[in-house]
Symmetry: none
Subunit: 257 residues, 2 copies
């Protein structure tokens, strides 16, 4: 890889610090907000905060690892003996991506059996998607990387299908004041998540060097903030709206927990 | 031992970080969830969170110790002067394994005298099991390791007997909506715990070298996550279901805050 400039290094460094601050603040926001929503939505907010808590932890580690991986000698950026540990991202996704799908299912307040079956299926698919992507990320040849990346796309597309077709009917039965937000939450999930395979395959097609590294690191960071913190704010708003006693008898739009 | 590769070293390193994040997140999940269950189940959730809190502390130490035990010099992994401290695992189990059995007993909500007698007996057996295993782990000869390991199996088998025969009748008297989960919690305990003696004796039978070390460290980590965090989620679900006013009126499935 051609040498990162100090400006590129600093941009990534500051992006990681920004992500840590955002995730930590989001965590506190979600947990403080728990008491404002009806009891059946509190687990959803607990998990929303867990996702950003876990992400805050990993951005702290990523930030430290990035700081340790380079040093400036005589005004020139030099790599140290400690390589940057990019795997923290996959470790993070393995935990947080299934939980993100679980929080969406929980805030929809479906019947118990539907909640369990959908949360389990989506959670397993999400973990599988991340687990299949990792060998590709560390693969030594690009053909291996293509194979793992393509395998990882299978659960990804299955999740997209589940969110749009499988959950379609469930969205229709959401109370009117929350339906738009639930719909938006589905689209944010797809939109933010689509960024990850784009970056993955862009690197394979030939993006390389210091500029590509900068785009990847800053891009993943922005995608993480949207998929976790911004998505979490949507979950919070859905829970809050569905907790309002509304017009006629919308409280009865709150089925059995 | 033949030399660990950097890939193996990194896999273990990331597994330890993953375990720390999981245990810390699980702790917050259980403690935030306390307010969602009926008062008689709150001690069970407090203890469930204590187990993962203690485990988070030890995985932090294990992670740090692992990081300090090796260094990369000119692209080659080398052991430093500070050996990896594997004993943190036993210190952890000595505290957490008795507590795990106590949380299972507490969530069953037995009579007070039965709770005290079963929790005491299972707690002592569990501590004994761990205490007998440790001298085997650090034994200088394999015959000593076999003796201590076999002694440690006596309380282990006694615990299995207690969980299946002794608690069998108590499971039958659990409310219908929680019976399946209580049963699953017993099986998860046995299944996850069985992994530890398997690893212990596998090392004695001849598994050694870098690959065995990798399997042991990653395997123990996965077993710990299942036995503590995943098991804790079952305990939380049992407590939540048993807090629901039963059958008839499930819309008021909003437990006492």
């Amino acid at each position: 890889m051609d040498q990162l400039s100090i400006g590129q290094y600093d941009l990534i460094y500051n992006a990681f610090s920004f992500a840590f601050a955002t995730m930590a603040a989001a965590t506190l926001f979600f947990w403080l907000g728990r008491s404002q929503v009806a009891p059946q939505y509190r687990t959803a907010l607990t998990i929303t905060g867990l996702v950003t808590f876990i992400a805050a932890y990993h951005y702290f580690r990523i930030f430290e690892s990035w700081g340790d991986a380079y040093t400036i000698v005589d005004g020139v950026l030099q790599a140290t003996d400690k390589p940057f540990n990019d795997a923290y991202r996959y470790v993070d996704w393995l935990l947080t991506v299934p939980l993100l799908l679980v929080e969406l299912i929980l805030v929809m307040n479906l019947t118990r059996s539907e909640t369990v079956s959908r949360a389990t299926r989506l959670g397993v698919l999400a973990a599988l998607m991340v687990a299949l992507g990792y060998p590709g990320e560390v693969a030594e040849t690009s053909s291996q990387a293509w194979i793992w990346g393509s395998l990882s796309m299978i659960p990804f597309l299955w999740i997209v299908y589940e969110l749009f077709v499988g959950l379609g009917k469930a969205v229709e039965t959401q109370p009117a004041q929350a339906r738009g937000l639930v719909n938006m939450a589905r689209w944010v999930t797809i939109g933010a998540w689509a960024f990850y395979p784009v970056v993955y395959f862009a690197a394979l097609i030939g993006a390389e060097g210091a500029m590509a590294e900068t785009v990847i690191q800053v891009g993943y960071t922005i995608a993480d903030i949207i998929a976790k913190a911004a998505f979490g704010v949507l979950i919070f708003m859905i829970a809050l709206r569905k907790s309002e006693p509304s017009d006629k008898d919308k409280t009865s739009a709150v089925p059995a927990e």
